[in-house]
């Protein structure tokens, strides 16, 4: 399997009035046409890693890396125009809450069409047809009607599916999903994940799945990276989770109450200062 994305010693830091905040402190991994999960809690740097790959880090932040390479293109030194052309057509990102990530004043169909026409030279008619078939591909039954609806007129699950349609319509090779189902109800989560599963498999895409939910990520992805305080503390195959070595990973696995387990009190994560070093 050829490598699509290479990240070596990625560092992202934000200068603030009270000092430099280092969000990502030397993260390295590679990605081929496979599914990689990045798991961490708030402040672990997982979202900033995803955004750095997309080129969406805020302007005042400092990014550096020994290598940040997508299919031969050096993402750090590439000019803004090149990065823009990559976004949407070759690398796409799905965000958490469609309430905030879809434009509230544009109809859903129009947003999808806009994405397509930015990257491909197609007629309006063809763009509309492809948008509707994309909406059908994410299992939105009444695609023609939903095409004209605005984001606030559809449910969360449908909005998220519309977002997936919008991001995949230009046929990207790499998908970065930042907590794509965290804002959804549990039953809807499974539907959306099922759709994502099928699309990623059918199109042979690479996927980076960022989440705080270790169990979910391990059931969806091939490999899992666990981040803590800006660094990777463990990297393992998803099927190998039971043999996690790092105490943080073990703690994360054990700390949530699940159906059927009866532990009173729940085991609590005992944070060691060494983990953050």
């Amino acid at each position: 399997m050829s490598t699509m994305l290479t990240v070596d010693d990625l560092r992202v830091s934000f200068p603030t009035r009270s000092g430099l905040i280092e969000a990502v402190r030397g993260v390295s991994f590679t990605l081929g046409r496979e599914r990689l999960g990045i798991v961490g809690e708030s402040g672990s740097g997982k979202s900033q890693t995803g955004r750095a790959i997309m080129g969406l880090t805020p302007a005042h932040a400092k990014i550096s890396a020994k290598t940040l390479n997508f299919d031969g293109i050096d993402l750090l030194t590439a000019p803004a125009k090149v990065r823009r052309s990559l976004r949407g057509s070759r690398i796409a990102m799905i965000l958490q809450d469609p309430k905030y990530s879809l434009n509230p004043v544009m109809s859903i169909g129009r947003q999808i069409v806009e994405t397509l026409r930015t990257h491909e030279n197609v007629s309006k008619r063809e763009a509309r047809d492809r948008a509707i078939s994309m909406l059908e591909a994410v299992q939105i039954r009444d695609a023609g009607r939903v095409f004209d609806l605005h984001p606030h007129e559809v449910s969360g699950g449908m909005g998220q599916r519309a977002m997936i349609a919008m991001m995949l319509i230009a046929g990207p090779e790499l998908l970065v999903a930042d907590e794509p189902t965290s804002a959804l109800d549990v039953t809807v989560q499974l539907e959306v994940l099922g759709i994502l599963d099928k699309l990623v498999a059918d199109r042979g895409m690479g996927l980076i799945f960022i989440s705080h939910d270790l169990r979910l990520v391990s059931s969806f992805c091939d490999r899992v990276i666990v981040m803590y305080a800006g660094k990777i503390v463990e990297e393992l195959a998803a099927s190998d989770l039971g043999n996690a070595k790092h105490p943080y990973t073990q703690g994360l696995l054990n700390c949530m109450p699940t159906l059927g387990t009866n532990r009173h009190p729940l085991p609590v994560l005992d944070r060691q200062p060494e983990w953050a070093l």
């Binding site: 809690e41 708030s42 969360g156 109800d185 549990v186 039953t187 809807v188 989560q189 499974l190 994940l193 099922g194 599963d197 099928k198 498999a201 705080h212 939910d213 270790l214 169990r215 979910l216 059931s219 969806f220 703690g251 994360l252 700390c255 949530m256 109450p257 699940t258 159906l259 059927g260 387990t261 009866n262 009173h264 009190p265 729940l266 085991p267 609590v268 994560l269 944070r271």
Partner: protein, 253 residues
């Protein structure tokens, strides 16, 4: 069982929208009762209606044998019933120190020796006195939720209404706060009514629960029954399956 709190055919309607449709539940004293459902099920509305934060348009709420006045709650009610909210970032006043936040309920109810009570409250939720003069933006999510719990407990209520108290927290912090809630309940012999969308959390914390959908109660059962899979309604079965997590389709190489 003589319930300490019960809702009888409670209805909450906003214009045309029926948030709660003739819902009835009974909570025994000292029990931990769960309300489970997805968004829009009405579980939070039920909790807020009991607290007096949602307008009740039908039915009644009975506390300790006495029906509550629909429009107005008296101070004695607030001494008995307190609530912990979901969002730790919104439930503490942004301009007040922890000390001031904890003083407020004491001042409203005219409770003396505030100093001692504040220190004891902080201690009970596992935070030292060094937290006393911090502002809420200087606290992490888990710490804020602990302060919210301390604030609810400081006037010694008997009944605690918990509206998804841990769903906005990180996984590792959730466990700590859930343990704290359990311990507090044991120590003070409190009654809990807890709302959650997470079946794992609800079965861990509660003995009996009610599953809600679209403003109605779909099924009432015990946690033991839920865990064992002795479910009657299809909706509850769906929820169970969904909480087991994602199962990947036949793997592609």
């Amino acid at each position: 069982m003589t319930a300490i709190v019960s809702a009888e055919n409670l209805t909450v309607a906003y214009d045309d929208f029926l948030a709660l449709d003739a819902v009835s539940i009974d909570v025994a004293p000292g029990e931990s009762f769960g309300l489970v459902g997805e968004s829009g099920s009405g579980k939070s509305t039920l909790l807020r209606a009991i607290a007096g934060l949602s307008p009740v348009t039908g039915g009644r709420i009975v506390l300790d044998g006495k029906p509550l006045d629909v429009k107005h709650r008296d101070k004695a009610f607030y001494r008995q019933v307190q609530m912990v909210f979901q969002d730790p970032y919104g439930s503490l006043h942004p301009r007040q120190t922890v000390d001031r936040l904890l003083q407020e309920p004491l001042a409203i109810h005219g409770v003396q020796d505030a100093e001692r009570r504040i220190l004891r409250a902080l201690d009970e939720v596992g935070l030292g006195s060094s937290f006393r003069f911090r502002y809420s933006h200087q606290l992490s999510g888990g710490q804020r939720q602990r302060i919210a719990i301390a604030r609810a407990l400081i006037i010694e209520p008997q009944i605690m209404l918990l509206d998804e108290p841990t769903s906005a927290l990180d996984a590792s912090v959730q466990a700590e706060v859930l343990n704290l809630l359990e311990q507090v309940r044991r120590d003070r012999k409190l009654t809990y009514i807890m709302v959650s969308h997470d079946l794992g959390v609800v079965t861990h914390m509660c003995e009996r629960l009610a599953v809600m959908k679209n403003g109605k109660v779909v099924e009432r059962l015990s946690s033991a029954d839920l865990v064992a899979g002795r479910l009657k309604e299809d909706y509850t079965k769906n929820l169970m399956v969904a909480s087991k997590g994602f199962v990947r389709a036949a793997s592609m190489a």
